[in-house]
């Protein structure tokens, strides 16, 4: 318990979290602080590029093994399975319609790459090593949850099957292409490639992440301020409970795979996080009747801050306890 508390305090007082809190506070104070859309997108491109490349270099250093393939399969299964738990809980804890519950469930089955990056950063800060290929696991966990959510809706309505264009958009989503592409390039070029771009990929990373989290705080805070009326106590409770439940499945899968304590913590983080990049766009196309202010606010305004401040230290501490790492 002391371990969780000290990790949480260390995490809460890190520049990353303090900048996120600054963003939320500025949004609630109605400050005019904003990031232009292009700047926010440029930062997200940089972060995806850097985290993917570093993951690939790590795999090049340590080599490929069967655990990588098994981890990818486990990630896909977790992503497809967690929406069913989320949907079931939402139907108990809230009065959301089938459509809204399925859309929210899809977000919780998929992943938040920024939460993953923050968790990686926390692990690095604590000197805990993780498997570099967890980046690839993150990429494969983006899409299966969408399929599960669409199936949940199709059972109860005459919802049309998504067109081929939607699948192309989901699977070739810009963030997935960049993450996987950078991962592959990092794996191919290894330490030689890293030596050439290290000053760009490693040194500015924490600073850019701070700015990005400041922007995320602003967006989350404004989302909460504008859509607070759509959040019932049941939904708020779900937004905190669901990541903890998801992380338990991630813990089980990580231990079964024999991952390191860092790898288990990252799989817990991925299972606990909720998407706000790939899934919202897919839901706007496939389930337009679902209310975006509910799922965006849940994902970005409730679960993302929870994971960032308390969730990540909990997942790291639990992973260390169970792996002895």
């Amino acid at each position: 318990m002391d371990g969780i508390f000290s990790l949480a305090m260390e995490n809460l007082l890190s520049p990353l979290i303090l900048f996120f809190i600054l963003g939320v506070a500025a949004a609630f104070a109605r400050s005019d602080l904003t990031f232009p859309e292009a700047a926010a997108k440029a930062m997200s491109i940089y972060l995806l590029f850097a985290i993917g490349f570093k993951g690939g270099v790590s795999v090049a250093d340590h080599g490929l093994d069967a655990r990588l393939v098994l981890s990818l399969i486990a990630g896909m299964i977790l992503s497809a399975f967690i929406p069913f738990i989320a949907f079931f809980l939402l139907r108990i804890m809230s009065r959301l319609s089938t459509m809204d519950a399925a859309a929210v469930a899809a977000h919780y089955g998929s992943i938040s790459i920024v939460t993953f990056v923050a968790s990686t950063s926390a692990l690095t800060g604590s000197g805990i090593i993780s498997e570099g290929y967890m980046v690839a696991v993150a990429a494969v966990m983006e899409a299966p949850a969408i399929l599960s959510a669409l199936w949940l809706v199709s059972r109860k309505s005459d919802q049309q099957a998504p067109d081929a264009g939607l699948w192309r958009e989901i699977l070739l989503n810009g963030s997935i292409v960049l993450l996987v592409g950078s991962f592959l390039i990092g794996g191919i070029t290894g330490q030689d490639g890293m030596a050439k771009i290290e000053s760009f990929v490693v040194t500015p990373f924490q600073g850019v992440l701070c700015l990005f989290l400041l922007d995320m705080g602003l967006v989350a805070g404004r989302g909460l301020r504008n859509s607070a009326s759509s959040l019932t106590p049941g939904l708020l409770a779900f937004g905190v409970l669901m990541p903890l439940i998801g992380s338990v499945f991630g813990l089980g899968a990580g231990l079964a795979l024999g991952l390191s304590s860092g790898g288990v913590a990252l799989l817990m983080t991925l299972s606990a996080s909720a998407s706000y990049i790939a899934v919202p766009a897919a839901m706007r196309v496939a389930l337009p009747e679902a209310n975006p202010s509910i799922y965006l606010t849940m994902s970005l305004g409730v679960t993302f801050p929870f994971n960032l401040t308390l969730g990540i230290p909990i997942y790291i501490a639990v992973a260390r306890t169970f792996t002895g790492g």
Binding site: T34, F35, P36, E37, A40, K41, M43, S44, G165, E169, D215, L218, V219, R222, N226, S227, S230, Y276, I277, A278, P280, A281, A282, M283, R284, V285, P288, E289, N291, P292, S293, L296
Partner: protein
Amino acid sequence: MQTHQAKRVEIIIEAPMERRLRKALESADVTGFTVLPVLGGSGRSGSWSRDGQITSAGGMVQLVCIIRPEKLDALLDAAFRVVERHIGVVNVVDCEVLRAERF
């Protein structure tokens, strides 16, 4: 100066639907249009803004199209099939253009 009657169609639609709307218009033989970014706004689903967004999911775009009056029904039929279930606004106004052969 000689002017010609035309119709100006303005469609505000969710950004993720833009590609589908473009394809629908092209299938209705409407090949000239302009897509504009929209800064923000408010509607039945709450308010929204482009600021700070890293995904197009919460954003909107406006598609503006000027066509001959006889093409209007085909355009609206095609556009409606795309926008029917989605957040957005479709409006049509009369306008005049200088070079009719371009529309």
